[in-house]
Amino acid sequence: MSASQSAVRSRAEAVQVSRTFDWMILFTLFTAVLGGYHIHYMLTGGDWDFWTDWKDRRLWVTVAPIVSITFPAAVQACLWWRYRLPIGATICVVALMLGEWINRYLNFWGWTYFPVNFCFPSNLIPGAIVLDVILMLGGSMTLTAVVGGLAWGLLFYPGNWPIIAPLHVPVEYNGMMMTLADLQGYHYVRTGTPEYIRMVEKGTLRTFGKDVAPVSAFFSGFVSIIIYFLWHFFGKWFAKTDFIADDEL
């Protein structure tokens, strides 16, 4: 092959090739992020995201944002510093949620028959859009980490509340009070998920009485700031081109 000869001969052709390249990169990025982010989120967020009877005011609110800000921070670092594209967080979350929906619909419901209203994924899109816009407006990693990371944590619970609130309506069941979500967990038998591994409503943030969700959300936001920094650096490192030899380009 001859490396010195260009494959394109006109400007129109160059534009066309560049655009084709855009779509291929986008497709690759989307599927790779979908796979990696999905696995990461299942391993770290796992049951908190799978089941409504894990979606509590303390641990779900705390854990889900912290473990989910990872890939958005890294992909933002790549897409922003190299291309000034403020879509890193949103593309991650849109990919993740597509993968989650395919998994929940085909496997949880289609294969194992858990009702979809019991095993739908969490909504991460509000935080992702805000994170992307803050990076675009400020163009600063620190600002995005601090303001965006905090917003990521704070928007999570209210962004999901319209979806889960109906399942927090109480019922009286054989003399005990439960929420409908608790009842789903009891009714729809999970052989591999006994009740005691459910980690809900545990924790030490109890000094604030009834308003645990906002306190958990703030705490989650603060940790998200730190995780954002960490993964933003991963992303920057990963987006380096140092390891590609010049003659390959």
Binding site: M1, V8, S18, F21, D22, M24, I25, T28, T31, A32, L34, G35, H38, M42, D56, R57, Y83, R84, P86, I87, V94, G99, N103, N107, W111, T112, Y113, P115, N117, N123, P126, I129, V130, V133, M136, L137, L155, P158, A165, L167, H168, V169, P170, N174, G175, M177, M178, T179, L180, Q184, Y186, H187, V189, T191, P194, E195, Y196, I197, E201, V212
Partner: protein, 414 residues
């Protein structure tokens, strides 16, 4: 260019494969047939299930059946397994083919985990409502924290009808009747679709313009600032503000629509009542025990003393849910699963009634293919080669006494 194109398409393909294989095929455990693979000592020395009754063999969609009986929490609980301080009465079925409408231990509803006491016997009941047609192996099951699932015997139950007819009506404390099977599902779809559309809109806004090569060139040439226009900023602000406003507004509207909500309920339940069983008046001493590998038989030499006031006979040896009966003393009429019931599997060298005050040493043999089929014989390879089980003695009037045995076991290969 061609090379890069090839590389990229190859990469895309790899990424696609990784995606499809790794992430999307995760399915929550649906299998319920771990019974044979569980270590023999786990099944013999932890929870002993007995007096089990599956109320039906065949049940139509929306109809209910119960599994009831007793379980004895073995006092010789193995050191290697955590004690049942946190345990959950589960049911071993392949996914939610039934829903669990209720489960009780000692008459107490147990939707949560409980603390069980070693050496005690509890009665239990699980109420199941049929949801999905098919033939299902329905097991009793106890999950123990730090010990894993302890699976009891399973029986085949057939569910007939169509799953589309299944309903799960619940009356909430706010007075509504809902069908939990698809309750609030439209709401889930609505919000997810709406937010997904907003996310896609933000992506499309950027993706529809030339992206990687021209923007990369601009960044390298130091013209990065020209890549975000004032209009981009305005639209970005609109997206961010719109997002925050929609989150706040939808949260407010939700609170108006659902003024009564409570947090998820959780917590360990203690003080579960066990059955008061009077101490047995029969005592049993295991002199020795061997397992004959070729004969699939366990032989025990037992010294039995009757301290009661009625003559007794040994009728059953129950270990790891396999029941060996002496047909002349006791017959099972409960419809216990065939594969784990050896109706004539128990032979006693002298099983004439043992009179009050009498002591007798007998040879007892428990033989059945179940030793192999259920891999109980594997216990001879356990680090602590012991066996354990329940012996049931009967008097003339059919009164029953339960005695536990727990003793070393020597294998015999000839």
């Amino acid at each position: 260019m061609k090379i890069i194109k090839d590389k990229v398409s190859k990469l895309s393909f790899v990424a696609l494969l990784v995606t499809l294989t790794a992430a999307m095929f995760y399915t929550p455990t649906a299998s319920a047939h771990g019974e044979k693979s569980q270590a023999a000592f786990m099944r013999m020395r932890t929870i002993h299930w007995y007096d089990l009754d599956w109320s039906k063999d065949e049940v139509a969609i929306n109809e209910t059946m119960t599994i009831s009986g007793k379980f004895h929490v073995f006092s010789g609980w193995p050191e290697t397994v955590d004690k049942p301080e946190v345990a959950f009465l589960n049911i071993g079925i392949p996914g939610p083919v039934f829903i669990r409408q209720g489960s009780w231990i000692g008459g107490q509803l147990v939707p949560r985990s409980v603390t069980l006491e070693l050496g005690e016997t509890y009665d239990f009941k699980v109420l199941l409502k049929a949801r999905r047609p098919g033939d299902w192996h329905v097991h009793t099951m106890m999950n123990v924290e730090g010990g894993g699932p302890i699976i009891g015997p399973g029986k085949w139950v057939t569910i007939t009808g169509s799953m589309s007819e299944f309903v799960n009506p619940i009356v909430t404390l706010t007075g509504e009747t809902i069908n939990l099977e698809d309750y609030a599902l439209d709401n889930v779809y609505f919000w997810h679709a709406l937010w997904y559309a907003i996310g896609l809109a933000w992506l499309v806004f950027w993706v529809k313009r030339p992206m990687f090569i021209p923007r990369s060139i601009a960044v390298v040439d130091g013209k990065a600032d020209s890549l975000i226009s004032p209009l981009d900023r305005k639209i970005g602000i609109a997206f961010a503000l719109g997002t925050v406003v929609l989150v706040m507004a939808s949260m407010g509207a939700t609170n108006d629509a659902y003024p009564v909500t409570t947090p998820l309920q959780a917590g360990l339940m203690r003080g579960i009542k066990w059955i008061d069983i009077p101490a047995p008046t029969v005592t049993v001493k295991v002199e020795d025990a061997t397992y004959r590998v070729p004969g699939r038989a366990m032989q025990m030499t037992l010294t039995i003393t009757n301290n009661g006031d009625a003559a007794v006979q040994l009728g059953e040896f129950n270990t790891a849910s396999v029941r060996f009966l002496d047909a002349e003393v006791y017959e099972d009429e409960s419809g216990y699963p065939d594969d784990i019931l050896a109706e004539e599997g128990l032979t006693v060298s002298d099983n004439s009634p043992l009179a009050p005050g009498e002591t007798r040493t007998v040879e007892v043999t428990a033989s059945d293919a179940a030793w192999e089929v259920y891999r109980l014989a594997d216990l001879i390879y356990d680090p602590d080669s012991r066996f354990a089980g329940l012996l049931f003695f009967f008097d003339e009037e059919g009164n029953r006494q339960m005695v536990t045995v727990d003793s070393p076991l020597i294998p015999s290969f000839i």
